[in-house]
């Protein structure tokens, strides 16, 4: 690289200004959104899920998720009477294009949509060596992709397998609970696209949110409760065989 003294003199101040902009960040603040007024989660109503894959496709469109990677996906469980502890689980292409027809035979079938559980005590944020992933004040687990090194420690730490290394950006990527939407008063793309209402965005700090009544009157479970992650993806109708 041949640089003249003149080019160098032009380059250095420009680089300094640019670097300052990176350090300061230039966020576009959402008007009327106060982080401390919200505590986001998700309600997943398993008996309503038909495995159409709308949520997976919507998420990929909304968040530019590369092919073969998933911020949300749908699994189909087949539990036979003889083997309740080792169900057969399939998720072809994340359930994006639906599932093969399930034959009416022994046992039961059901769909389980999976996504980041936005844990309040998330293992993934605790292992990050540089502070690139964190639980925001409104309870959403986010990744600062400008700060992430791509070490994949968080990918290993997530007990739910919800993170991946973005193949083009080489940094950790995951569900943001459509942070850019919920801060604007919209629901998530997966909830918007779900035809049966099997997914519902919930705000636990909003006293008017129907989630409070739902939690009072229904049996609701989280995935891997024994790990005490403070998961906020609440599953209604969750079978004991789901891992």
């Amino acid at each position: 690289m041949n640089l003249s003294r003149r080019q160098m003199l032009v380059l250095l101040p420009a680089a300094a200004v640019a670097w300052k902009s990176v350090l300061a960040g230039t966020p576009e603040d959402s008007p009327n959104y106060k982080m401390t007024d919200h505590w986001w989660g998700m309600l997943i109503d398993i008996p309503k899920c038909i495995g159409c894959g709308n949520c997976v496709r919507a998420c990929q469109t909304e968040n530019d998720v590369p092919d073969g990677y998933f911020r949300t996906w749908v699994e189909r469980y087949h539990v036979t009477d003889e083997n309740m502890v080792s169900p057969e689980v399939i998720s072809p292409d994340g359930g994006k294009e639906g599932f093969p027809v399930a034959a009416e035979d022994a046992g039961k079938y059901f769909f389980v949509p999976k996504m980041c559980n936005h844990c309040a005590d998330s293992p993934c944020t605790q292992v990050c060596p540089v502070g690139a992933t964190f639980v925001a004040p409104d309870g959403v687990v986010l990744v600062d992709q400008k700060y992430c090194l791509g070490c994949a420690y968080c990918v290993q730490a997530c007990p739910y397998g919800c993170r991946y290394i973005h193949p083009k950006k080489d940094v950790a990527d995951k569900c943001t609970l459509c942070y850019h939407r919920i801060t604007q008063g919209l629901t998530t793309a997966c909830c918007e696209a779900c035809p049966t209402g099997a997914r519902q965005l919930v705000d636990l700090k909003d006293p008017k949110d129907p989630i409070h009544e739902f939690l009072k009157t229904h049996s609701v479970q989280v995935l891997k409760p024994q790990m005490a992650t403070g998961a906020k993806a609440y599953y209604y109708g969750l079978d004991g065989s789901v891992r």
């Binding site: 080019q7 032009v10 380059l11 420009a14 680089a15 640019a18 902009s21 990176v22 350090l23 300061a24 960040g25 230039t26 966020p27 576009e28 603040d29 959402s30 959104y33 982080m35 309503k48 899920c49 038909i50 495995g51 159409c52 709308n54 919507a58 469109t61 909304e62 968040n63 189909r76 639906g98 599932f99 027809v101 399930a102 034959a103 079938y109 769909f111 502070g131 992933t133 964190f134 925001a136 004040p137 986010l142 600062d144 992709q145 400008k146 700060y147 083009k168 950006k169 943001t176 942070y179 850019h180 939407r181 801060t183 919209l186 793309a189 918007e192 696209a193 035809p195 049966t196 209402g197």
Partner: protein, 189 residues
């Protein structure tokens, strides 16, 4: 002073230590982003940057602003709770990315620093330019069976058909009106 008579080397060492600490503070001041620690052990500005990602699904309220007739028909039918973009796709569509001239060395250097992440391609909303951005008209032969093909895995109360037995041949849309599909509720075409 006799106490410190032979302690010169210690003072020099302490001086070096203080100097190193001052250098550390100066470097730290410039290297650690300003918003780091604003809310916790992370860069506070990152929250705003993530929130700035453009939305592509506008929500059914946006569609209903112009297509009130369809919304009314839908509200009375069995698809009342199915949002528009669940079938029609996102209202925002990516514009074709124009061919960029190859950046020169200076541009490459500055762009590399300001945009460490690849920028999002431009977006245009159907509502902003209905003529040039049209959501794809869904193919009912694909769309309907994705949800309604009979499968033991689906909830028992959900309406399901075996496509091969259920009037094979013409696409679903030739008999059913997708916005209000039940035949007995005036949904027939």
């Amino acid at each position: 002073m006799s106490t410190f008579k032979d302690a010169g080397h210690l003072f020099r060492f302490a001086g070096l230590f203080v100097l190193a600490f001052l250098i550390f503070l100066v470097v730290r001041h410039y290297v650690v982003p300003k918003s780091f620690g604003q809310y916790g052990h992370y860069r506070g500005a990152a929250i705003g940057e993530i929130a700035a990602h453009p939305a592509k699904f506008a929500g059914h309220e946006t569609c209903e602003g112009c297509h009130a007739d369809v919304a009314d028909k839908k509200k009375a039918g069995k698809h009342a709770h199915v949002n528009c973009e669940a079938c029609h796709g996102a209202i925002y569509q990516h514009l074709p990315v124009p061919e960029q001239p190859k950046p020169n060395l200076y541009e490459r250097f500055v762009v590399l620093i300001i945009h460490p992440m690849p920028p999002d391609p431009p977006l245009l909303r159907h509502a902003e330019d209905p003529a040039s951005v049209k959501p794809e008209l869904p193919d009912t032969a694909v769309l309907c069976i994705r949800c309604h093909t009979a499968s033991a895995a689906k909830p028992k109360g959900f309406p399901q058909i075996v496509p091969a037995d259920h009037y094979p041949g013409p696409p679903c849309g030739s008999c059913h009106q997708p916005h209000s599909p039940a035949m007995d509720a005036g949904g027939a075409k």
